[in-house]
Subunit: 462 residues, 2 copies
């Protein structure tokens, strides 16, 4: 499509919106082309729109419908599967400027927010009212609630408290016909019709554009006890995690990170992290009072029985917080070292030791450096395949390792994506996991709710 | 359709299944025509099939597809909205004979069951492994997991632990094309594609026939502390409930029942229940140790502040269990007195006192007896409109009261159905609640997944 052909329709869009919403200069639009999935392809958008209201979003969707232009909605762009990557000739619709917390309701334990509210900002706002918004992806200082909803983001607390979708009560959505609709409810329970709310959650913008989110909150919780264990192998650490699950302990976090991650964080931030372990497990319990100490003791016993070289409950809150900060910074720290190919497989917890063993084997077979961070408590692994920029042979080996890890996860009864979403990177894996009949059901639903095919086409299901 | 026209195709169905599966004599089929929604219409089925395997279910669906015959799946028939009621000329497909618990997995905290497993039977089986399946509709001694899933059933524990859908990890389904598909996963987390699992949950058999369910389990919990409060009005009791929610207390149950209910149960079962109160609130806490006593004390303080005429923590486990048994028996006890028109509205908890006030007003305006039972802690009310058999004028007044209660619930930000489902009785209310655009989205999804319109047609959305 040449500039001449598109000038007139794009002018209509510019006219339909307040001044300054439509951005076309390459310097600006370049910042909206990619999410954090460095290996996923990205196209050249026609324009970027920074919407400030539901009415503006609706105007954009209607313009896309009228002009058969694909629409790619995005939040902060911290996604890891390419779901927010631009398509050639598309409109990228940024929701990040719609960042108002509209309501925090202590009586009903809910909040109503615009999609651009940053995850940590919502948590801080709720804390002022003695309330807690649990979902905490590692990207929480930057990622937005709209993006969290669209990817059904996980996080550290999921092992006990579930994922973003478990906290979504209602959505306002601009649907595939350009209508503003409300899905879900404000009440604690409700079964009025199909659960279209959770159909849109995790759909990565392919079934509608989320313009408002009503989330469920919990009362503020007890302070957490923290335990740490050092292991000489990932497999040993995996055995500790499986033992904790089998014992019926419910940690409020149970994270694994290996020496590659610790070193990358320490080289970057100088947190003074110990490098004495190949693998570290970090556990937390937020059970109140004596129950919390009992859970911490149970976790330590499992660490020791699985062969930990050192294990202890932290008595120093600053030290405990530094360890979890290291966990949170592991991804950006490793990103500094070269293009990362990020896995997000999730396996049954009992299969964790075997999956970690296979990842080690894959690293050797394909001569590829693989760092491990994991929400170990729920079997969700993030093997990070690190390559050297410009080394094409290494890149080819990395792709083979990526495919092998997906095959192993499926073989062990797992899924190709625990929390990052399908985007572009996991589309092949998705088809492998679901099979042709279920993929066909996805396509039927997609056609039903986006009959004109403008909503983030070519993502999730082709 | 005359018998002559249908004889040949029905013979095909009989031939496709083992002997004895297809039932056509009126005495037997009559028991499969209705659920417990006495006011909902029911048609005359062509036949009833009692399936014993997924392959048999698939054979029935394929036969229905080939012969354009509507299919009505059902579990134990304890539904309260008419969702399982027969349609003229349909096949009623009973899943109750598929009642095997296939797996209880302590390492992964999950169980895999056939749809005909009775709710209490699954709970008892899990308890043997130190595990707990929380969802506990009042019908738990009779209702099946398949029916619970298809209606997304609630229950007493929901106020703290959520509804059936919160425990569904995966489903095996025979879809609208007659294919056997697996939706969901066995892992703790997973975002591989659209959440078709929870689209089928609560869809009342209109999007697929559930043939296997994988549920999430929790570790067995602490024994519960029980508190009871007597109130001279439902509105006072409602104020106590709103105060408990606002205080951030998380009871493991918080139930309301009025004198009509207590008397009906006592007349039937001679439990020796006190009749000193107009309304009783029953609260429970399963927080461990001192935290449980603290929650019980907080609930009692809220009872007293709201005007309870008597309130105490139960020290006698048998007495506490009798009170909750009365709650569970309230519906069948009232059913003995005459046809019940059952409401299932759910309102924001802070609106509970006002909703209870409006129900009292409706009872007076329409000269209709209304008994109240409620999962009060989550704002889910079951006003039961009681009429005398054969009194047409009373029946007309009851219908007016029913419509008024729905209008009031919507006016207060509530929903027409908290846990019973839409079935036939709430279809008008559903359209009122959702509006035409969202109803159109429902129809589009229905057409996408049931393109031949054979799956429980005319239920939920017309």
């Amino acid at each position: 499509m040449s500039l001449l052909e598109v000038r007139a329709p794009l002018d209509d869009l510019v006219d339909a919106l307040p001044e300054g919403r439509v951005l076309t200069d390459a310097d600006t639009t370049g910042r909206y082309v990619h999410d954090e999935a460095e290996w996923a392809p990205a196209g050249a958008p026609l324009a970027v729109v920074r919407a400030r209201s539901t009415a503006e979003v609706q105007a954009v969707v209607r313009w896309c419908l009228a002009n058969a232009v694909p629409l790619v909605p995005r939040g902060a762009g911290t996604g890891l599967s390419g779901g927010a990557n631009a398509l050639d000739g598309c409109i990228v619709l940024s929701l990040e400027a719609m960042d108002a917390v509209l309501e925090v309701n202590a009586a009903e334990h809910l909040a109503v927010v615009q999609p651009g509210v940053v995850n940590d900002a919502l948590r801080a706002r709720c804390a002022q009212e003695g309330l807690w918004y649990p979902p905490d992806p590692a990207s929480s200082p930057w990622s937005t609630i709209g993006g969290n909803v669209s990817t059904n983001a996980g996080g550290l607390c999921c092992v006990k408290y579930g994922v973003t979708g478990d906290y979504v009560l209602a959505l306002e959505v601009v649907n595939g016909l350009g209508e503003v609709v409300r899905l879900g409810r404000r009440t604690a329970k409700g079964v009025a019709g199909y659960d279209l709310t959770h159909l849109v959650v995790g759909a990565e913008g392919t079934l509608g554009v989320v313009t408002e989110v009503t989330v469920r909150l919990r009362p503020a919780r007890s302070p957490e006890a923290t335990v740490a264990g050092y292991f000489s192998s990932a497999v040993d650490a995996g055995r500790a995690v499986a033992a904790i699950a089998a014992a019926g302990v419910r940690p409020s976090a149970l994270e694994l990170l290996d020496k590659h991650c610790l070193k990358a964080v320490d080289d970057w931030k100088n947190l003074g992290l110990s490098m004495d372990a190949e693998v570290v497990l970090l556990g937390r319990s937020d059970a109140p009072g004596a129950a919390g100490d009992a859970e911490a003791a149970q976790m330590l016993a499992c660490f020791t029985a699985a062969g930990a070289t050192w294990a202890a409950q932290s008595t120093d809150q600053a030290e405990a917080d530094a360890l979890f900060e290291a966990r949170r910074l592991a991804y950006p720290a490793l990103e500094r070292l070269g293009p990362l190919l990020t896995e997000d497989v999730c396996v049954p917890v009992a299969a964790l030791p075997e999956m970690l063993r296979r990842i080690e084997a894959t690293s050797l077979v394909h001569d590829t450096r693989i760092a491990n961070i994991a929400h170990a408590g729920d079997g969700n692994l993030h093997p990070l395949i690190i390559t050297t920029p410009g080394d094409d042979a290494a890149r080819a080996r990395a792709q083979l390792a990526f495919d092998q890890i997906i095959a192993d996860a499926l073989d062990l009864g797992g899924t190709v994506t625990g929390e990052h979403g399908v985007g572009l990177l996991k589309m092949a894996g998705l088809a492998q996991e679901l099979g042709p009949e279920v993929v066909a059901m996805h396509r039927a639903v997609k056609r039903a709710l986006d009959p004109h095919g403008i909503l983030n086409p070519g993502k999730v299901v082709a």
